[in-house]
């Protein structure tokens, strides 16, 4: 397929006679041999699957070529092998969902109503085989009872040999259960069979609780077997926690399959000489989480260990940062400057609207009578030129349009074609090439929202195309040329917080050639990590911190400000100005970006005798005492760890993510120092996610005891003459256990510093738990809605050290996108205030989600164009009609409505 010629009309697929199972829908429906893998594909281009194509296999057919309107089908294309010279390599080959087919215990291969989670995902999807209708495969009837079985291909060494936890399945199973209930026409009974519920991410615990409130049943159990009944329903036999055998029937069973590395990816890694972990993921160090064993080769995503989307996105930016660090001297060396003709002034001229009606081959013209539409367009007010193009987006048509715009003296352009979401930038460039301001452009969407969706009613589609063009022309006549503001960028960063995240951010920025001010309120760098003993890979942290400090001291691009706080801050992306207050007085720092690395604190409990008995200590206190030599682990004989102290309770309804692993590490260290010691961990769910599960396994094999408790029966701690005594209700035995202890470790919550001043200074939001709220939880995990401000570390959410390092690298990569240009252009579609109408009531600056509106010295509203994102909320909210939005003015939108 010639990608330059393919316009994604789908004619090839339509005419292709070969139907094969559609892998995008997990084989639940069929696709053609000429196909696009999924509707959201970028670029949206069709391809031919040669292995299934009749022409490629039997030498006959060529239907796709015959019907392709642009001549894009080319059967002579050959696989090409190319050599590309690069400075760094990033591997992001991802994971393969675990395939339960060969394992009899999952009953997947024989029972049609046992589906994998990915199949169920497709069943729920609007683009799936049943358009999102909840049905089961055997009879396409709507299931009334569905069971999810967790840890399929995870935490299992008997047959499939995956000892690790896949980290994402608990969350996706809950999500599927909740969405299935939403899609169901009945009161769907959804049950999740699990061992430990691992909802450790940001806002995940709340989601888990919400699902329980919605009636999703969570059954802590081990599955014995699944058998099929006559009506193809499924009977699950399972054992509950207290050892009871139970049986229940479901219409459908979903297997929460785990993540694994594909055999071909393992082969690739071996070929590249990259070390793999025990679970066959690429092995990385906690200190360099995206760096592989091979210099110059970096990794991100689930190939470096099972993980979810936010962390994968974070690591993707981190890998970009690491990969670019060594190449920074070459930045921009292959870039070319584009030149454009001078802009023709049109302000005050009578509108001369040119309308280009696109046929898009047969995509539009096959349904809409484009000639009639073009004739109609000629009758519209201010329209002076109309032309029908076969393909408006082709290069020759673009050149022709630029010529026409100049020749005809057009000063507004309407293209009736596909969608502005993909093609507006292209046509705007055509305007610029013709010397016209790019904002004098409007599109009428007569393909995606007309011919494609009304193909059965050409007459109505033609009328609608006329309507859409009439509306576009009405708006276009009122368009004004807009100026894009150019901003200088101060090429330096302010990093707030000198912990592991801040230190890594400063060093990574320096590696990219940028200066930074590293501000720490304490008298030394290092933050919470100074109190931590080891990482989850048992690497000592103190020497690592020493090395970071030495490198920072030796780095001329980093200025460290200790004992320093922020007094005030102003400005916006590229141009921040912050006043620091330190030992030597005040200092004003100018910076282009701001990195928030302010960390978090440790919760100090008032239960379990904490603060009253010195043998009751928090995690950090135990680590500190060991590091300081005050606590000798070989002298500990009876240790008890209590999990979830201050986490997952009504006051702090979140999981602190690191504490399970931390207690297991500490337990292992005690067992190492004194193998005879009795170590008990009292937990609610053990959340040793990913390959941390191996630590949990090791702890059990070394005799560490794990006893589960629940929130209604919290353990009790008493001091007796002989030592400490812990009482806990054991669920397996269903009776109270009395455990003696000479050391109690409390896995206390990580709590936010709640830096409200900082939030206000940099216009960044905070959630109800006090964590700073990123621009998008999944897709923009280190950005804020406010441009030029980024974050890393615990200020975002509790996380282990390796994630803080990755996030710091990610924040640097994002920051460099700002710092690497000398100046930046801001879009012209921003709000402005007509101060003659403004009364200074303050509604607009209250509702502005970007805090782009302030009060000037007359008390009236004024828009900071650098902060404005053009959402128009101010315009909609003002009672006096003072604000207006360029590009989407009141007059413009009204004209569109009046042309309906």
């Amino acid at each position: 397929m010639d990608l330059d010629k393919c316009i994604a009309c789908g004619a090839c697929s339509d005419k292709c006679p070969k139907r094969i199972p559609n892998e995008y829908n997990e084989g639940l429906d069929k696709r053609k041999a000429a196909y696009v893998r999924y509707a959201q594909a970028v670029p949206l281009k069709y391809g031919i699957d040669a292995e299934n194509c009749i022409y490629f296999q039997k030498g006959k057919c060529k239907a796709c070529q015959k019907f392709c309107p642009t001549g894009a089908v080319n059967y002579d294309q050959q696989e090409e092998v190319r050599d590309i010279k690069v400075g760094s390599v990033i591997i992001s080959a991802g994971f393969k969902p675990f395939d339960p087919t060969p394992y009899v215990q999952y009953s997947y291969a024989n029972f049609p109503n046992v589906v994998t989670a990915l199949e169920f995902e497709r069943i729920l999807a609007a683009s799936g085989p049943w358009m999102g209708h909840l049905v089961r495969p055997s009879d396409e009837a709507e299931p009334k009872k569905i069971a999810w079985i967790q840890c399929v291909g995870s935490r299992e060494v008997n047959t499939c040999d995956h000892p690790y936890c896949s980290a994402v399945c608990c969350m996706y199973a809950i999500k599927e259960a909740v969405i299935a209930k939403e899609h169901s026409h009945t009161d769907l009974d959804a049950a999740i069979f699990f061992m430990d519920m691992r909802t450790f991410g940001k806002d995940f615990e709340r989601y888990y609780e919400g699902a329980q409130e919605d009636g999703v049943r969570f059954i802590r159990s081990r599955i014995h077997s699944i058998s099929e009944l006559e009506d193809r329903s499924l009977q699950i036999e399972y054992a509950t926690e207290d050892g009871q055998a139970r049986m229940e029937t479901f219409d459908m069973v979903v297997l929460s399959q785990g993540l694994e590395t594909a055999p071909e990816t393992i082969e690739l890694c071996q070929k590249l000489d990259i070390n793999l972990s025990p679970g066959k993921f690429i092995s990385t160090s906690c200190f360099e989480p995206v760096t592989t064993s091979r210099p110059g080769v970096y990794v991100c995503g689930a190939l470096a260990g099972p993980k979810d989307i936010p962390l994968s996105v974070m690591e993707a930016s981190a890998a970009a940062c690491a990969a670019a660090g060594k190449l920074s001297s070459a930045r921009g060396s292959l870039a070319q400057e584009q030149e454009f003709p001078e802009e023709r002034p049109v302000a005050g001229d009578i509108p001369r609207v040119g309308v280009f009606v696109c046929s898009c081959g047969i995509n539009i013209a096959g349904v809409v009578d484009v000639e009639a539409v073009a004739e109609y367009a000629k009758t519209l007010p201010y329209v002076t030129y109309v032309r029908n193009n076969l393909f408006s987006c082709s290069q020759d048509t673009q050149d022709k349009m630029a010529e026409v715009i100049a020749e005809e003296g057009l000063n507004r352009v309407v293209v009736a074609a596909c969608t502005p979401r993909t093609h507006e930038p292209l046509f705007q460039e055509t305007l610029v090439n013709a010397g016209l301001n790019k904002y004098l452009f409007e599109m009428a969407n007569i393909r995606n929202q007309d011919s494609w969706v009304h193909s059965g009613d050409p007459a109505a589609a033609t009328e609608k195309a006329k309507d859409l063009i009439r509306m576009a022309v009405a708006k276009a006549a009122l368009l004004a040329p807009l100026q894009e503001v150019q901003l200088e960028v101060t090429p330096g960063a302010l990093i707030i917080g000198g912990g592991v995240s801040g230190m890594n951010a400063a060093l990574n920025l320096a590696a990219q050639g940028y200066t930074s001010h590293l501000v720490e309120r304490d008298n030394a760098l290092g933050g919470n990590a100074r109190s931590l003993r080891v990482t989850a890979q048992n690497q000592p942290i103190a020497p690592y911190l020493d090395e970071l400090r030495e490198r920072i001291e030796a780095e001329p691009l980093i200025t460290v400000h200790l004992n320093t706080t922020l007094k005030e801050g102003e400005g916006f992306v590229g141009n921040f100005k912050t006043t620091l207050a330190g030992d030597s007085g005040e200092e004003v720092v100018e910076h282009g970006v701001t990195l928030i690395c302010t960390g978090a604190g440790e919760y100090k409990p008032n239960e379990y005798l904490y603060g009253q008995d010195p043998r009751v200590m928090t995690h950090l206190e135990i680590d500190q005492a060991v590091l300081g030599g005050e606590l000798d682990l070989s002298e500990v004989n009876k240790a008890v760890f209590i999990q979830c102290v201050g986490s997952r309770d009504p006051e702090r309804p979140y999981c602190s993510k690191v504490c399970c692993t931390h207690s297991v590490e500490s337990a292992l260290a005690i067992k190492e120092a004194n193998p005879e010691a009795q170590v008990v961990i009292l937990y609610r769910d053990i959340r040793t996610f990913g390959e941390r599960e191996l630590l949990y396994k090791e702890a059990r094999s070394k005799g560490v005891l794990f006893v589960r408790y629940d929130l209604e029966h919290k353990p009790e701690v008493k001091a007796t003459d002989d030592g400490l005594l812990v009482t806990v209700r054991d669920h397996v035995l269903d009776r109270d256990l009395l455990i003696e202890a000479d050391l109690i470790g409390l896995a206390t919550a990580i709590v936010s510093n709640r830096s409200n001043d900082l939030a206000q200074m940099f216009k960044i939001p905070m959630d109800s738990d006090g964590w700073f709220l990123e621009a998008h939880q999944k897709l923009r995990p280190v950005d804020f809605a406010t441009d030029g401000v980024f974050m890393a570390g615990l200020a975002h959410y509790p996380k282990p050290l390796e994630e803080a390092v990755a996030q710091a690298q990610a924040a640097v990569a994002r920051a460099v996108t700002v710092l690497s240009s000398k100046e930046m252009m801001l879009p012209g579609t921003v709000a402005f205030i007509d101060q003659r109408k403004c009364v200074g009531c303050g509604v607009c600056w209250t509702v502005c989600p970007y805090q782009a509106i302030t009060q000037d010295d007359k008390g009236l509203a004024v828009v900071n164009e650098a902060l404005c994102k053009g959402c128009g909320t101010c315009v909609a909210s003002c009672r006096s009609g003072a604000p207006n939005l360029r590009g989407f003015t009141n007059q413009g939108v009204m004209a569109q409505i009046m042309a309906l």
Partner: protein, 69 residues
């Protein structure tokens, strides 16, 4: 209206550029079919949605207004 003639409402849809407008495009890519009596007006954000737009649409004779974002 005669009994044979079914009521066909005219609907004005104000769709946010970043989500619902994209979804309407995707419906096209997937060739989903729906009645043609719905006209989309693209807005930069549902925050832009002034009550006056809704009133004006009704004044223009539409039977329903759909705001989505």
């Amino acid at each position: 209206m005669s009994e044979n003639e079914q009521f066909q409402p005219r609907i004005a849809a104000f769709l946010c550029n970043w989500c619902s407008y994209g979804a309407a495009d995707l419906a096209g890519v997937s060739r989903l079919q729906y009645p043609p009596n719905i006209h989309v007006i693209r807005i930069p954000c549902t925050g832009r949605m002034s009550p006056k737009f809704i009133l004006q649409a009704f004044r223009q004779g539409v039977d329903g207004v759909w705001v989505s974002g």
